[in-house]
């Protein structure tokens, strides 16, 4: 893991290169950008089969994922077993857990900044991967040597083909990702990029389908040796469909579209001062979920669609106070405006609708203005150690409304801040110590953080979140508190490399109207988190990898008593998240065999063998108390209310021992 912990001015930041990600074999041998994040201290995966993750006590929707500056929502394939980004298309991934650069914002807990490859301006290259679930192919090369290049990558699943071998029934389970980029040096002072991403999932007949698309134009301009700018225009779109018939003429659809213009300047005022400033104007459209039916006599209630504008300015200065101390400080201003046409409801203190307001086209019917100050300081103690500290405020205007405890993506509602939903805010302070051990070729880091979050959302019991025009009345608001200690020891050189990381943390919520207004642990409150990752060069052409992950089980609500109604035993819960799932742990092995004898052959190919979950740990995704056993290890919801209660507690888990093999090539 490339991490400029010691020397970089940014703290709580990880820089992942493609070479790092490619080594971390995931489920079914697929290398996963988003899922590899769970090895990083402070980042917790939701669980098996899930692309959701939580950063420093934040919820799953508090992470902004950008691909070449365009936001991506629901970056999952196959419900969450795989993530959307093909490592072959990625140049690098920067993960900010705190101390997020002022040029970026919009999410409370983290920024995952993904940059795709620019394309090789010198020579052509072809890369491919044949796996059990999907195949990938990438091509890059110059249009004009040293002037212009391209990169193109495609990944497509072949699950539908596999299903065709097993069953005669028609299946429609597939996904693909396409990345493309053109990079042109106009002259020494101007460079432009055009990048494109498209991803699509189809699941079942009629089934569900979701897609992300993003297009970014970027212009880098050098005014002189002290002033540069980059200007970005991008647009993105996210759609989610639940089809109600096989003709796909009736469906539930959610859509988010974004368009933005950003311009960022960097000015090297003098050797001690680097000033950055910029402007971002964006427009958003939200359809939180509506039903389209052909020829239906009674249309269900239309759910309010809305528009919003976001104007951001920022300025920061990185100042070297002396040889050892650097400080970075700045301010980001946000003006968020909800814009008509829209019809919205005002929700009263009893969570009921009190008024209906109609906003005309272009009418600004609500505004929020939120400054985000940030400051950080680095003190280089000596050539091998440093201390960093930071404070930052972040603001988030878009929230994912979901009462689901499932690891999978499903029907979920993205809703912008507005008259009834205040923006989420967080204040985070962090302190870190970093040390290099030159002889051992190792690095050590320790960070503590404390984060206060405001306007956090939870839900009324059994909230009705789909096709509910008054959905905001189902929400409850409060605060969140997260704190923790992250330790990591990392070895980057030698035949044996890797890291061991441990996090001790808590995430506590206090929401009005929930749990009798008493604090309770969040679902993702998992106090202990330990990762061991090892990479060993066994021989010239053999490399071995091992990855062991342990986390405390998620906080869950289990019954404390029961009552009987209509012949059914109904659970009673005394408090929210009163219990925990069994702890999660898993060991993965993989071995990579370089097939070509010489490393610098024109044609290079490898075989990778991997075993996911080597000892077959049944990590649960749910604990249930409502089923009976009909035959050995087959459980069902009882239907006959005349039958007496025969419930048994059960645990559902997803993934057993999964061996896989994949073939990679490049030339």
């Amino acid at each position: 893991m490339h991490e400029d912990l010691l020397d970089g001015s940014q703290m709580s930041t990880i820089d992942l290169k493609t070479s790092d990600v490619n080594k971390m074999q995931g489920f079914l041998g697929e290398v996963e950008v988003i899922k590899s994040l769970q090895s990083i201290p402070g980042i917790k995966s939701f669980g098996d089969g899930s692309v959701f993750f939580h950063v420093r006590g934040g919820n799953k929707d508090q992470n902004l994922i950008l691909i070449d500056d365009a936001p991506i929502y629901n970056p999952s394939h196959l419900l969450g077993f795989f993530s959307s980004f093909t490592p072959d298309a990625i140049k690098d991934v920067k993960i900010y857990k705190a101390d997020i650069p002022l040029s970026q914002g919009g999410a409370l807990s983290s920024l995952i900044d993904i940059r795709t490859k620019d394309g090789n301006m010198q020579k052509y290259g072809v890369y491919g991967n044949i796996g059990l679930i999907a195949n990938k192919l990438s091509v890059e090369g110059p249009f004009v040597k040293d002037k212009s290049s391209f990169f193109f990558s495609v990944r497509r699943s072949h699950i539908d083909f596999l299903f065709g071998l097993i069953t005669e029934e028609e299946s429609n389970i597939s996904f693909y990702d396409v990345n493309a980029k053109v990079n042109t040096k106009i002259n020494e002072k101007n460079r432009i990029f055009l990048s494109f991403y498209s991803g699509l999932d189809q699941f079942g007949i009629p089934g569900i389908s979701w897609s992300n698309g993003a297009l970014t134009f970027r212009w880098n301009h050098l005014f002189n040796d002290r002033l540069f700018s980059n200007t970005i225009i991008n647009t993105s779109r996210y759609d989610y469909f639940l089809y109600l018939n096989s003709q796909k003429t009736e469906f539930w659809q959610e859509t988010i579209t974004n368009g933005s213009f950003k311009t960022n300047f960097g000015f090297y005022k003098d050797p001690k001062n680097t000033i950055r400033f910029g402007l971002n104007i964006s427009q958003h459209y939200f359809n939180p979920g509506n039903l389209t039916r052909s020829g239906a006599a009674d249309e269900p209630a239309k759910i309010l669609q809305s528009n919003a504008r976001h104007l951001v300015t920022y300025i920061s200065n990185e100042k070297k106070l002396n040889k050892k101390v650097t400080v970075r400080y700045g301010l980001r201003t946000n003006l968020w405006s909800n814009v008509g046409p829209s019809t919205y409801f005002l929700i009263g203190s009893e969570y009921e609708v009190t008024d209906t307001i109609i906003a005309d086209r272009y009418e600004v019917f609500n505004r929020y203005n939120n400054p985000e100050p940030r400051i950080s300081l680095r003190w280089s103690i000596d050539s091998v150690s440093s201390v960093k500290t930071s404070y930052g405020r972040t603001v988030q205007y878009l929230q994912l409304l979901s009462n689901s405890v499932s690891p999978f993506t499903s029907l979920e509602v993205w809703l912008p801040s507005g008259p009834n939903i205040k923006p989420q805010k967080a204040d985070q302070v962090a302190l870190g110590y970093y040390r290099k051990f030159m002889k051992a070729k190792s690095e050590f880091s320790a960070e503590v953080y404390y984060k206060l979050m405001y306007n956090q959302i939870d839900y009324e019991d059994h909230a009705n979140l789909l096709l509910n025009p008054a959905i905001e009345g189902e929400l409850r608001f409060g605060t969140g508190t997260a704190y923790g200690l992250e330790l990591m020891m990392q070895r980057r050189q030698g035949r044996l490399t890797g890291w061991i990381a441990y996090t001790l943390s808590r995430a506590i919520l206090e929401i009005e109207g929930i749990n009798n207004d008493q604090p309770y642990p969040a679902f993702y409150d998992r106090p202990h988190d330990l990762t061991v990752y090892l990479d060993f060069e066994l021989a010239e052409r053999w490399e071995l990898f091992a990855n062991w992950i342990y986390t405390t089980g998620s906080a869950i609500t289990t019954p404390t008593a029961f009552y009987t109604f209509q012949g059914t035993q109904v659970p009673i819960y005394d408090s929210k998240h009163n219990d925990r799932m069994p702890d999660y742990h898993r060991l993965d092995f993989s071995a990579r065999w370089q097939l070509n004898r010489k490393k610098d052959n024109n044609f290079r190919h490898t075989l990778t063998f991997s075993i996911y979950n080597v000892y077959g740990r049944a990590n649960p995704i749910s604990i249930n108390f409502n089923k009976k056993e009909i035959i050995f290890e087959e459980f069902i919801i009882p239907s006959n209310v005349l039958e007496g209660p025969k419930y048994v507690p059960t645990q559902r888990s997803l993934l057993g021992v999964i061996p896989s093999i994949s073939y990679q090539f490049e030339f």
Binding site: D48, H462, T560, Y563, T564, E633, P645, S653, G656
Partner: protein, 272 residues
Amino acid sequence: MKKKSIYILLFVLLVGCEKKIEWKIKSVEDNRIVVEGLITNERKAHFVKLTHTVSDMNVIPEPVTGATVIIREGDSSILLLEIPAGSGVYLTDSNKKGFAGTDYELMIIVNEDTMYAIAAMIPVDPQTRLSFIPNKDSTYYRANISQHQGYEFTPAMYQIDLSWGHLPGFKNKPIDSTKAKMIIYEFNSVDVSLVLGPNKEIIWVPKGCRVTEKKYSLTDEHAEYLRSMVMEMEWRGGYFDEAAANTTTNLSEGALGFFGACSVLIDTFIVQ
């Protein structure tokens, strides 16, 4: 064939599994009263059943005996009698009939505690007869539950009584093995855990089975209670569960359960 076996093995590994576990319930003492009461437009004895909560799974609840249970309808009051004594089941006389458009108030006195609930009876929409789907050789049938799954329904509850003890080959069987009762709900909400919920037991009945299908009207409050109960019981345990929470109630003083008033339509038919 060998190639197909490998893919099937991979598929099974992929999908995951469910297993029985040992789990100690973190019991908390709960002395609340549970009320299950229903008055309908049928001319019969209507009931209010009172029980205690239980601290563990599969425990039969103790009845609440010796309570005073009254249903008020306008200016008149009906005292329900515990029949049989000690059963916790309190009944009106058998000549009692409820009416749509009327509010019914329940009052329960247990020791020194008094609990109240109000239920309004609304008319019931015409019912569509439940259809049954045969197995491969058409000897056994199962109820077509999917005709009640959707979001555009006026909320309603269906009680399906099935009996086949009168049929040849079943006359000498224990009576409990030749009858069953299912309850099906129609709601007007869209719930992921219904659309993508866990597997429910299928009750197979022989051709010729006698079906009594009762459709009950539900007020919004009654539907909300039943939906909260169903979310905890029938729709939990799949791959798309929602957060666990307590059921609602229309009873005061912390009592659990629900007192409802429903108009009923009855349809009786033979599965064939």
